[in-house]
């Protein structure tokens, strides 16, 4: 079987360094919360609704508390206190706080124990809601069965959720295993989650709870019709990372794009905000056994894929370390990487093969997510289709777990129905025709492929050493990843980061951290 040589000592060292990098950040995380985290807590307590401007109640609620500089106590504290003070239920409590005339204050006679006690039922319901969704999904998977790896993952992005649903079903009909509804451009910068079914979006469709439901319904139908469980995915990223994770959990999504650093690097979201948000989102994800897809593939769109291959690997170790700290199991940890080397480079195919195999071996139990060529795609759709075919061949040969299928119109538009169909057709052909290629070949000792794998791993450990020495905060501000520099206090959303007070209350998080039923 095709294997590259792996120096396990170096791999272990990478993991040790990444652990230390994550621990440093985790200490920060454990002392902070954000408006996003608190809104998620409120959502978990079943608080819903929007006002006539479309502003979600959870935003009004949290912003009001935040305006009083009281968010460090946690929204749960106030909700519990409101219950103690006579609110008939949590929804009502939230409304009183959000829209009530009187100012919210920090003072009050209520003890933490009382608060926790009065919230107990709400916490149980919240978790049961998530757990039930998870169990329903797992049962359905078991009943209908799943396709073999690599799973064929495709995107739909019409902007209109009803068209998305049609296209999702068509994709499943054409053989897709996973369907992602691409999110409307720049939703990640909204500090609230839009509400309801949406039919207008640029470059994608808004991620809303109702939209999740609509596509889940279409894919449930497809699963039954085609006798094979069809997965759904969306984005838990941006300023509402954890809220979306919660919505996805209860709407039975199977995967989520969720990265510890993507927002920082690619959406210029403040790093403090991102690190805190990602932790909570992953706690929810871990509980729901959702597979995450990290975003290292993106690095190769801004940096050169040959020069920066090791940054992808280094970041994967870091993402893994963060995910472990949030309780995400390896088998749900879909680390991302990509086929982005200049295709006209001599032996580019060999280099891709090497990197893909290296990642596969280093993360053997992880549902690795493998991304197609995009940067070097041109509007020559015929040639683009061939480029994707070579990517598919590496995917099947190195046994990637999840493969996002390339589209021949990548450089032109989000995929048309037929683009997706043809991509699925081509992928099925390659997967079939070269099914056992990976088992049938070996790599020449110390050849181009082996050497490349060694170099990338060694460069990764060097980078991790520097990052560990300087800390991730500084490293990012020096452009360690994706050739992008971000500062500690720059970027969007910093105002939403709050130091937890000593008496911070977040029983949902506590339960998730405790891992209790």
């Amino acid at each position: 079987m095709a294997q590259v040589p792996l120096d396990m000592k170096v791999v272990d060292e990478c993991r040790r360094l990444a652990a230390s990098i994550a621990d440093d950040v985790q200490r920060f995380i454990d002392k902070h919360t954000t408006v996003g985290v608190e809104r998620t807590v409120a959502r978990a307590f079943g608080i819903e609704g929007v006002d006539d401007q479309g502003i979600p109640l959870v935003n009004m609620l949290v912003d009001r508390i935040h305006a009083q500089k009281l968010l460090g106590r946690g929204v749960a504290f106030f909700l519990g206190r409101e219950l103690l003070r006579g609110a008939p239920n949590l929804q009502d409590a939230a409304e009183r706080l959000a829209y009530g005339r009187s100012e919210i204050t920090g003072e009050g006679p209520e003890t933490e124990a009382q608060i926790n006690a009065v919230l107990e039922q709400g916490v149980k319901t919240a978790l049961k809601h998530m757990d039930d969704a998870r169990d329903t999904r797992e049962a359905m998977k078991a009943r209908l069965g799943m396709a073999d790896n690599p799973w064929k993952y495709v995107i739909v992005a019409t902007g209109n959720i009803y068209d998305d649903a049609i296209q999702a079903k068509s994709a499943a009909h054409g053989g897709a295993d996973v369907v992602a509804v691409i999110r409307a451009t720049a939703q990640s910068l909204l500090d609230y989650v839009p509400h309801g079914a949406t039919t207008e979006g640029y470059g994608g469709t808004y991620a809303t709870q109702e939209n999740f439901k609509i596509v889940r319904r279409a894919l449930d139908e497809a699963s039954e019709e085609f006798g094979r469980y069809c997965m759904q995915t969306n984005y838990s990223s941006g300023l509402c990372m954890s809220e979306i994770a919660y919505m996805a959990a209860v709407e039975r999504l199977d995967m989520l794009l969720n990265d510890s650093m993507y927002g920082i690097l690619f959406r210029d979201i403040n790093m403090q905000r991102t690190f805190v948000d990602q932790y909570f989102s992953r706690r929810l994800i871990a509980r729901s056994k959702i597979i995450i897809n990290t975003g290292e593939d993106n690095y190769l769109t801004t940096a050169d894929a040959v020069d920066a291959a090791h940054t992808v690997l280094a970041s994967q170790f870091i993402n893994e370390a963060f995910a472990h700290r949030a309780g995400v199991a390896d088998e749900n940890l879909g680390l991302g990487h990509a086929y982005e080397i200049n295709p006209w480079l001599e032996d580019s195919f060999l280099l891709e093969l090497s990197q893909a195999q290296l990642v596969r071996q280093i993360f053997p139990n992880h549902p690795i997510k493998w991304m197609p060529p995009t940067k070097f795609k041109t509007g020559d759709v015929f040639h683009s289709h061939v480029h994707d075919a070579m990517f598919n061949l590496v995917g099947i040969t190195t046994k990637q777990s999840i493969e996002l299928l390339g589209m021949f119109s990548e450089a032109i538009h989000t995929p048309l129905l037929m683009d997706r169909y043809l991509s699925l057709k081509s992928t099925k052909y390659i997967y079939t025709a070269a099914k056992h290629l990976g088992d049938e070949i070996e790599f020449k000792k110390d050849g181009i492929i082996e050497t490349r794998a060694r170099v990338v791993l060694n460069e990764a450990v060097e980078l991790l050493t520097t990052v560990q020495r300087d800390g991730i905060w500084d490293s990012i501000s020096r452009g360690a990843f994706a050739d992008v520099k971000r500062t500690l206090t720059g970027g969007k959303g910093l105002a939403g980061v709050v130091e937890r007070e000593r008496a911070y209350v977040n029983p949902i998080l506590s339960m998730l951290e405790g891992g209790a039923a």
Binding site: T378, D380, V381, I412, H413, L416, M418
Partner: protein, 250 residues
Amino acid sequence: MTLIPKHPHLLRAYGDREGDGMVQMTFTLRISPGAQAKEVAKRFAEAHGLREPLISAMEECGPGYTYFVAYGHSIHHVDVSEVDVPEVKMEDLDKHDIEERIEHQIGRKVVVVGACTGFDAHTVGIDAILNMKGYAGEKGLESYKWFDAHNMGAQVENEALLARALAVGADAILVSQVITQRNSHKENASALITLMKERGLRERFVMLLGGPRIDHKLGLELGFDAGFGPGTLPKHVAAFVVQRMMERKQ
């Protein structure tokens, strides 16, 4: 972009959303790549009814020739309710049924003669229908107890085919045409029908035409009883011949 309101009969192209009319075109023009060439290509696409055409590729594919890929929103539609296409009508019988029918309703072997005519040497199609080996795992007419199948192979002249059909007392003649350059398939095939009509023999045989670019509509147009295209199986042909023979009997 919704160009025209939905209408149940009016079909427009579908790209990503109902009514967007998105189509893709590829073509070559005798012009060198550049800003002017791009504009010419846009206008060329527009001339076909593509709105807001986007030229996504423009590459020199020969000295002074450029290859273009265009996308655009087509303004055209087709009224499906106006499109009525003849389809071969026959029962979906399997080999066993067919054999039974011949045995009981015709009572003798059905004789067929097939050939790839003119200069056409592509026998794989006619072999697929007639020979033992068959097609897609299904055996050809040679394997049928109640068929007597003669395969004359490739490059057979119409005269020779007709002579053989008369000689063996064929019930049906099977003509395969694969090469379509300059419509040679149509010419060859209709020449045979003309010949037969001249000799008053057209009605004597069930006439079948087949090939990758043949469909039932074309078969009828050229004077055959049926036309068969890609994916035809021996049993389809057998069923049609038997059915048509029964019809004629009545």
